[in-house]
Symmetry: C2
Subunit: 379 residues, 2 copies
């Protein structure tokens, strides 16, 4: 039982891409890595066996806001934490709930103390503070706990972004105090990652990166990007942040993104990603494949008996045809949602694994530049 370790194995010579291994008490994670999002204790439409065998997921996310409201902490504690509750024995990361409080709660009021909000489920009133969000994530049982932050929208006024960042920093101090004063909950080590904010202002991003770096945490996150800004701006601030973060700690870019976003950000030094896109877009008939993007609802796939994607190593992607998945989607069969989600996640995991191989082989940059073109094609 030990604090999360990060072994940096290879740094690309021509880009800033890295390959490494994160070690947690629930096992190792090969980076760069994509983490499927399991909002309410389930990666939507995908079983834990499918996550292991078909997707080959190494770590999944849980969401503090959702899990706190339902099933609730008493249920999770009684089960012995989320790993026991949902039968997932590999690492889990929980986000802090800050983002969902702002995007989902039916009302919210932000103060120095924290955020008072009403549940989107039943209207009940709750208060999230840096302190209780640490306690909640300990009770959920995450291996990686995220700091409680405010994520300003894009675009934000400079004054608001600065005020928000300063609040996030004060909240971070309170997070660390609470985290350091409380024990691990279930016998394995829990780790706190702080989050850089600062919207799309270089001086704020720089100040926030330096503040976060100074905490000497087991890993660090970049938040407040992929919230509507142009891709180039996302890349610009991701690079700025990466350059100021410790080299020997994993870097997590929150909520990113498309397959090409992920490749570009790996090239800038990011190690960890999460996004609902593969599952959400999959449920809406959009497939990411090794040959480009497919809208499986299109008539052109009606009689196409070729596999969903024979370019990746996933039974589901190799077994089922485009014609069959199109039929399932048209007929609103639940299996269609599952196949599309499993395939997209397997593709994302294949992509980061390929990236890792090419970083190790020393030809990442040219491979990445080629893939970014291929993957964006509309088939």
């Amino acid at each position: 039982m030990a604090v999360l370790q990060f072994e940096l194995e290879v740094t690309d010579q021509v880009s800033k891409a890295r390959a490494g291994t994160i070690t947690t008490d629930h096992g190792q994670i090969q980076t760069p890595i994509f983490m499927p999002v399991g909002t309410a204790g389930s990666v939507k439409a995908v079983s834990q066996q499918q996550l292991k065998e078909d997707v080959q997921a190494q770590i999944i996310l849980g969401n503090t806001y959702h899990l706190y409201l339902r099933p609730g902490l008493d249920v999770l504690e009684q089960a012995g934490g989320l790993h026991r509750f949902n039968a997932w024995d590999r690492p889990i990361l929980t986000d802090s709930g800050g983002y969902q409080v702002f995007s989902l709660a039916s009302s919210r009021k932000i103060t120095e103390e924290g955020v008072l909000f009403q549940s989107h489920i039943d209207g009940s009133r709750h208060l999230f503070t840096p302190e209780n969000v640490m306690d909640i994530q300990r009770t959920i049982g995450a291996d990686i706990i995220m700091a409680f932050d405010e994520c300003p929208p894009y675009p934000s006024e400079y004054a608001y972004a600065k005020k928000s960042m300063e609040l996030t920093h004060r909240w971070l101090d309170r997070c660390f105090t609470q985290f350091n004063n409380t024990p691990d909950k279930y016998g394995y080590t829990q780790n706190l990652f702080p989050i850089i904010q600062g919207s799309t202002f270089a001086d704020l991003r720089k100040a926030s990166s330096e503040y976060i770096a100074s905490k000497n945490a087991a890993g660090n996150a970049i938040g407040g990007l992929s919230v509507g800004e142009p891709d180039n701006m996302m890349y610009e601030y991701t690079e700025l942040c990466c350059d100021l973060l410790p080299v020997h700690k994993p870097r997590y870019l929150m909520g990113v993104g498309t397959p090409w976003n992920i490749l570009e950000c790996i090239a800038l030094g990011v190690d960890m990603f999460d996004c609902v896109m593969p599952t959400r877009n999959g449920r809406n008939a959009m497939l990411f494949t090794s040959k480009g993007v497919i809208n499986i609802d299109n008539k052109k796939w009606e009689k196409d008996n070729s596999p969903l994607d024979d370019g990746i190593d996933c039974t589901v992607s190799n077994l089922y045809s485009k014609a069959y998945l199109r039929h399932l989607m048209k007929a609103k069969e639940i299996l269609g949602l599952t196949i599309a989600s499993v395939h997209n996640l397997a593709f994302y995991l294949w992509l980061v694994k390929e990236a890792r191989k090419h970083i190790q082989a020393g030809d990442f940059l040219s491979w990445k530049n080629e893939q970014v073109q291929i993957l964006q094609q509309r088939l």
Copy 2:
């Protein structure tokens, strides 16, 4: 490539239960057997891998009415039949669509020729005849094709039931003529099962059983039961029919039923069953388990971390807890529908496998009488 064979291995000495093996060109089926229903080419919410590995299904159903309307015959023919289309390489049985025409179509008109109906999907007009329903099922590519029949409701007037049965018999002659005059479609042998009707009238059931038996088909079915009549009446007519059917051909009781219905009808000499109950009821939070019936929505399961069912050999039933499934159902997570469906089907397949073991061991009747009590308990 050969006509379906049935080897009757054991006949119980104290009940009429039988254990046997059906051999088709897509593999063998150990009887008694339960066949999961894959209406539109997918067993709802369950993947083909889960059907094989977790449920251990040996044969699944497809539905002619649904598959004919969507994806349509051109798509299925282009794929090389349903096995290729949905990546299921074990046996498939298709029902004839008669039942769905009466229960689903937005309007229907029955004549000597066949049934004119409007699609429930888009209102388009179609005609099903005994002849084209044989052709449709050949194109779908079923190993076992069902005769086109009329299934009268319960209760029916005697005069209507008699007239309907006679029509079903005339249609059956036309089915056999068409079936015998057309080749197998995809290189494996297709087999036609006729269906006994006669509602709940002993003389009609007797006449229909004798007529169906006279056809000397590869297997025979009992239709028109489990349509609302009391269980005892279903058992009475099932036994009457079984007693008049050939001993050395498999007997299929259509649309039955609860776990205890299945055990009782195995005791009367039935070999094959299908029903939407395990999947449909599963999606509505009702679990059949080796210890009794569970409504997983009940508050009493909120913190129950015991497995869904540790009495059967199924990873899904053993891995996930009652508390987790309850949470998934409450949160309307798709995975909840999948877990409940996989578990219920695995339980049904476990049940018929256990029945087979006890028939072989010679203690079926006492085991059955005990199980019928246990399985109906509300937990």
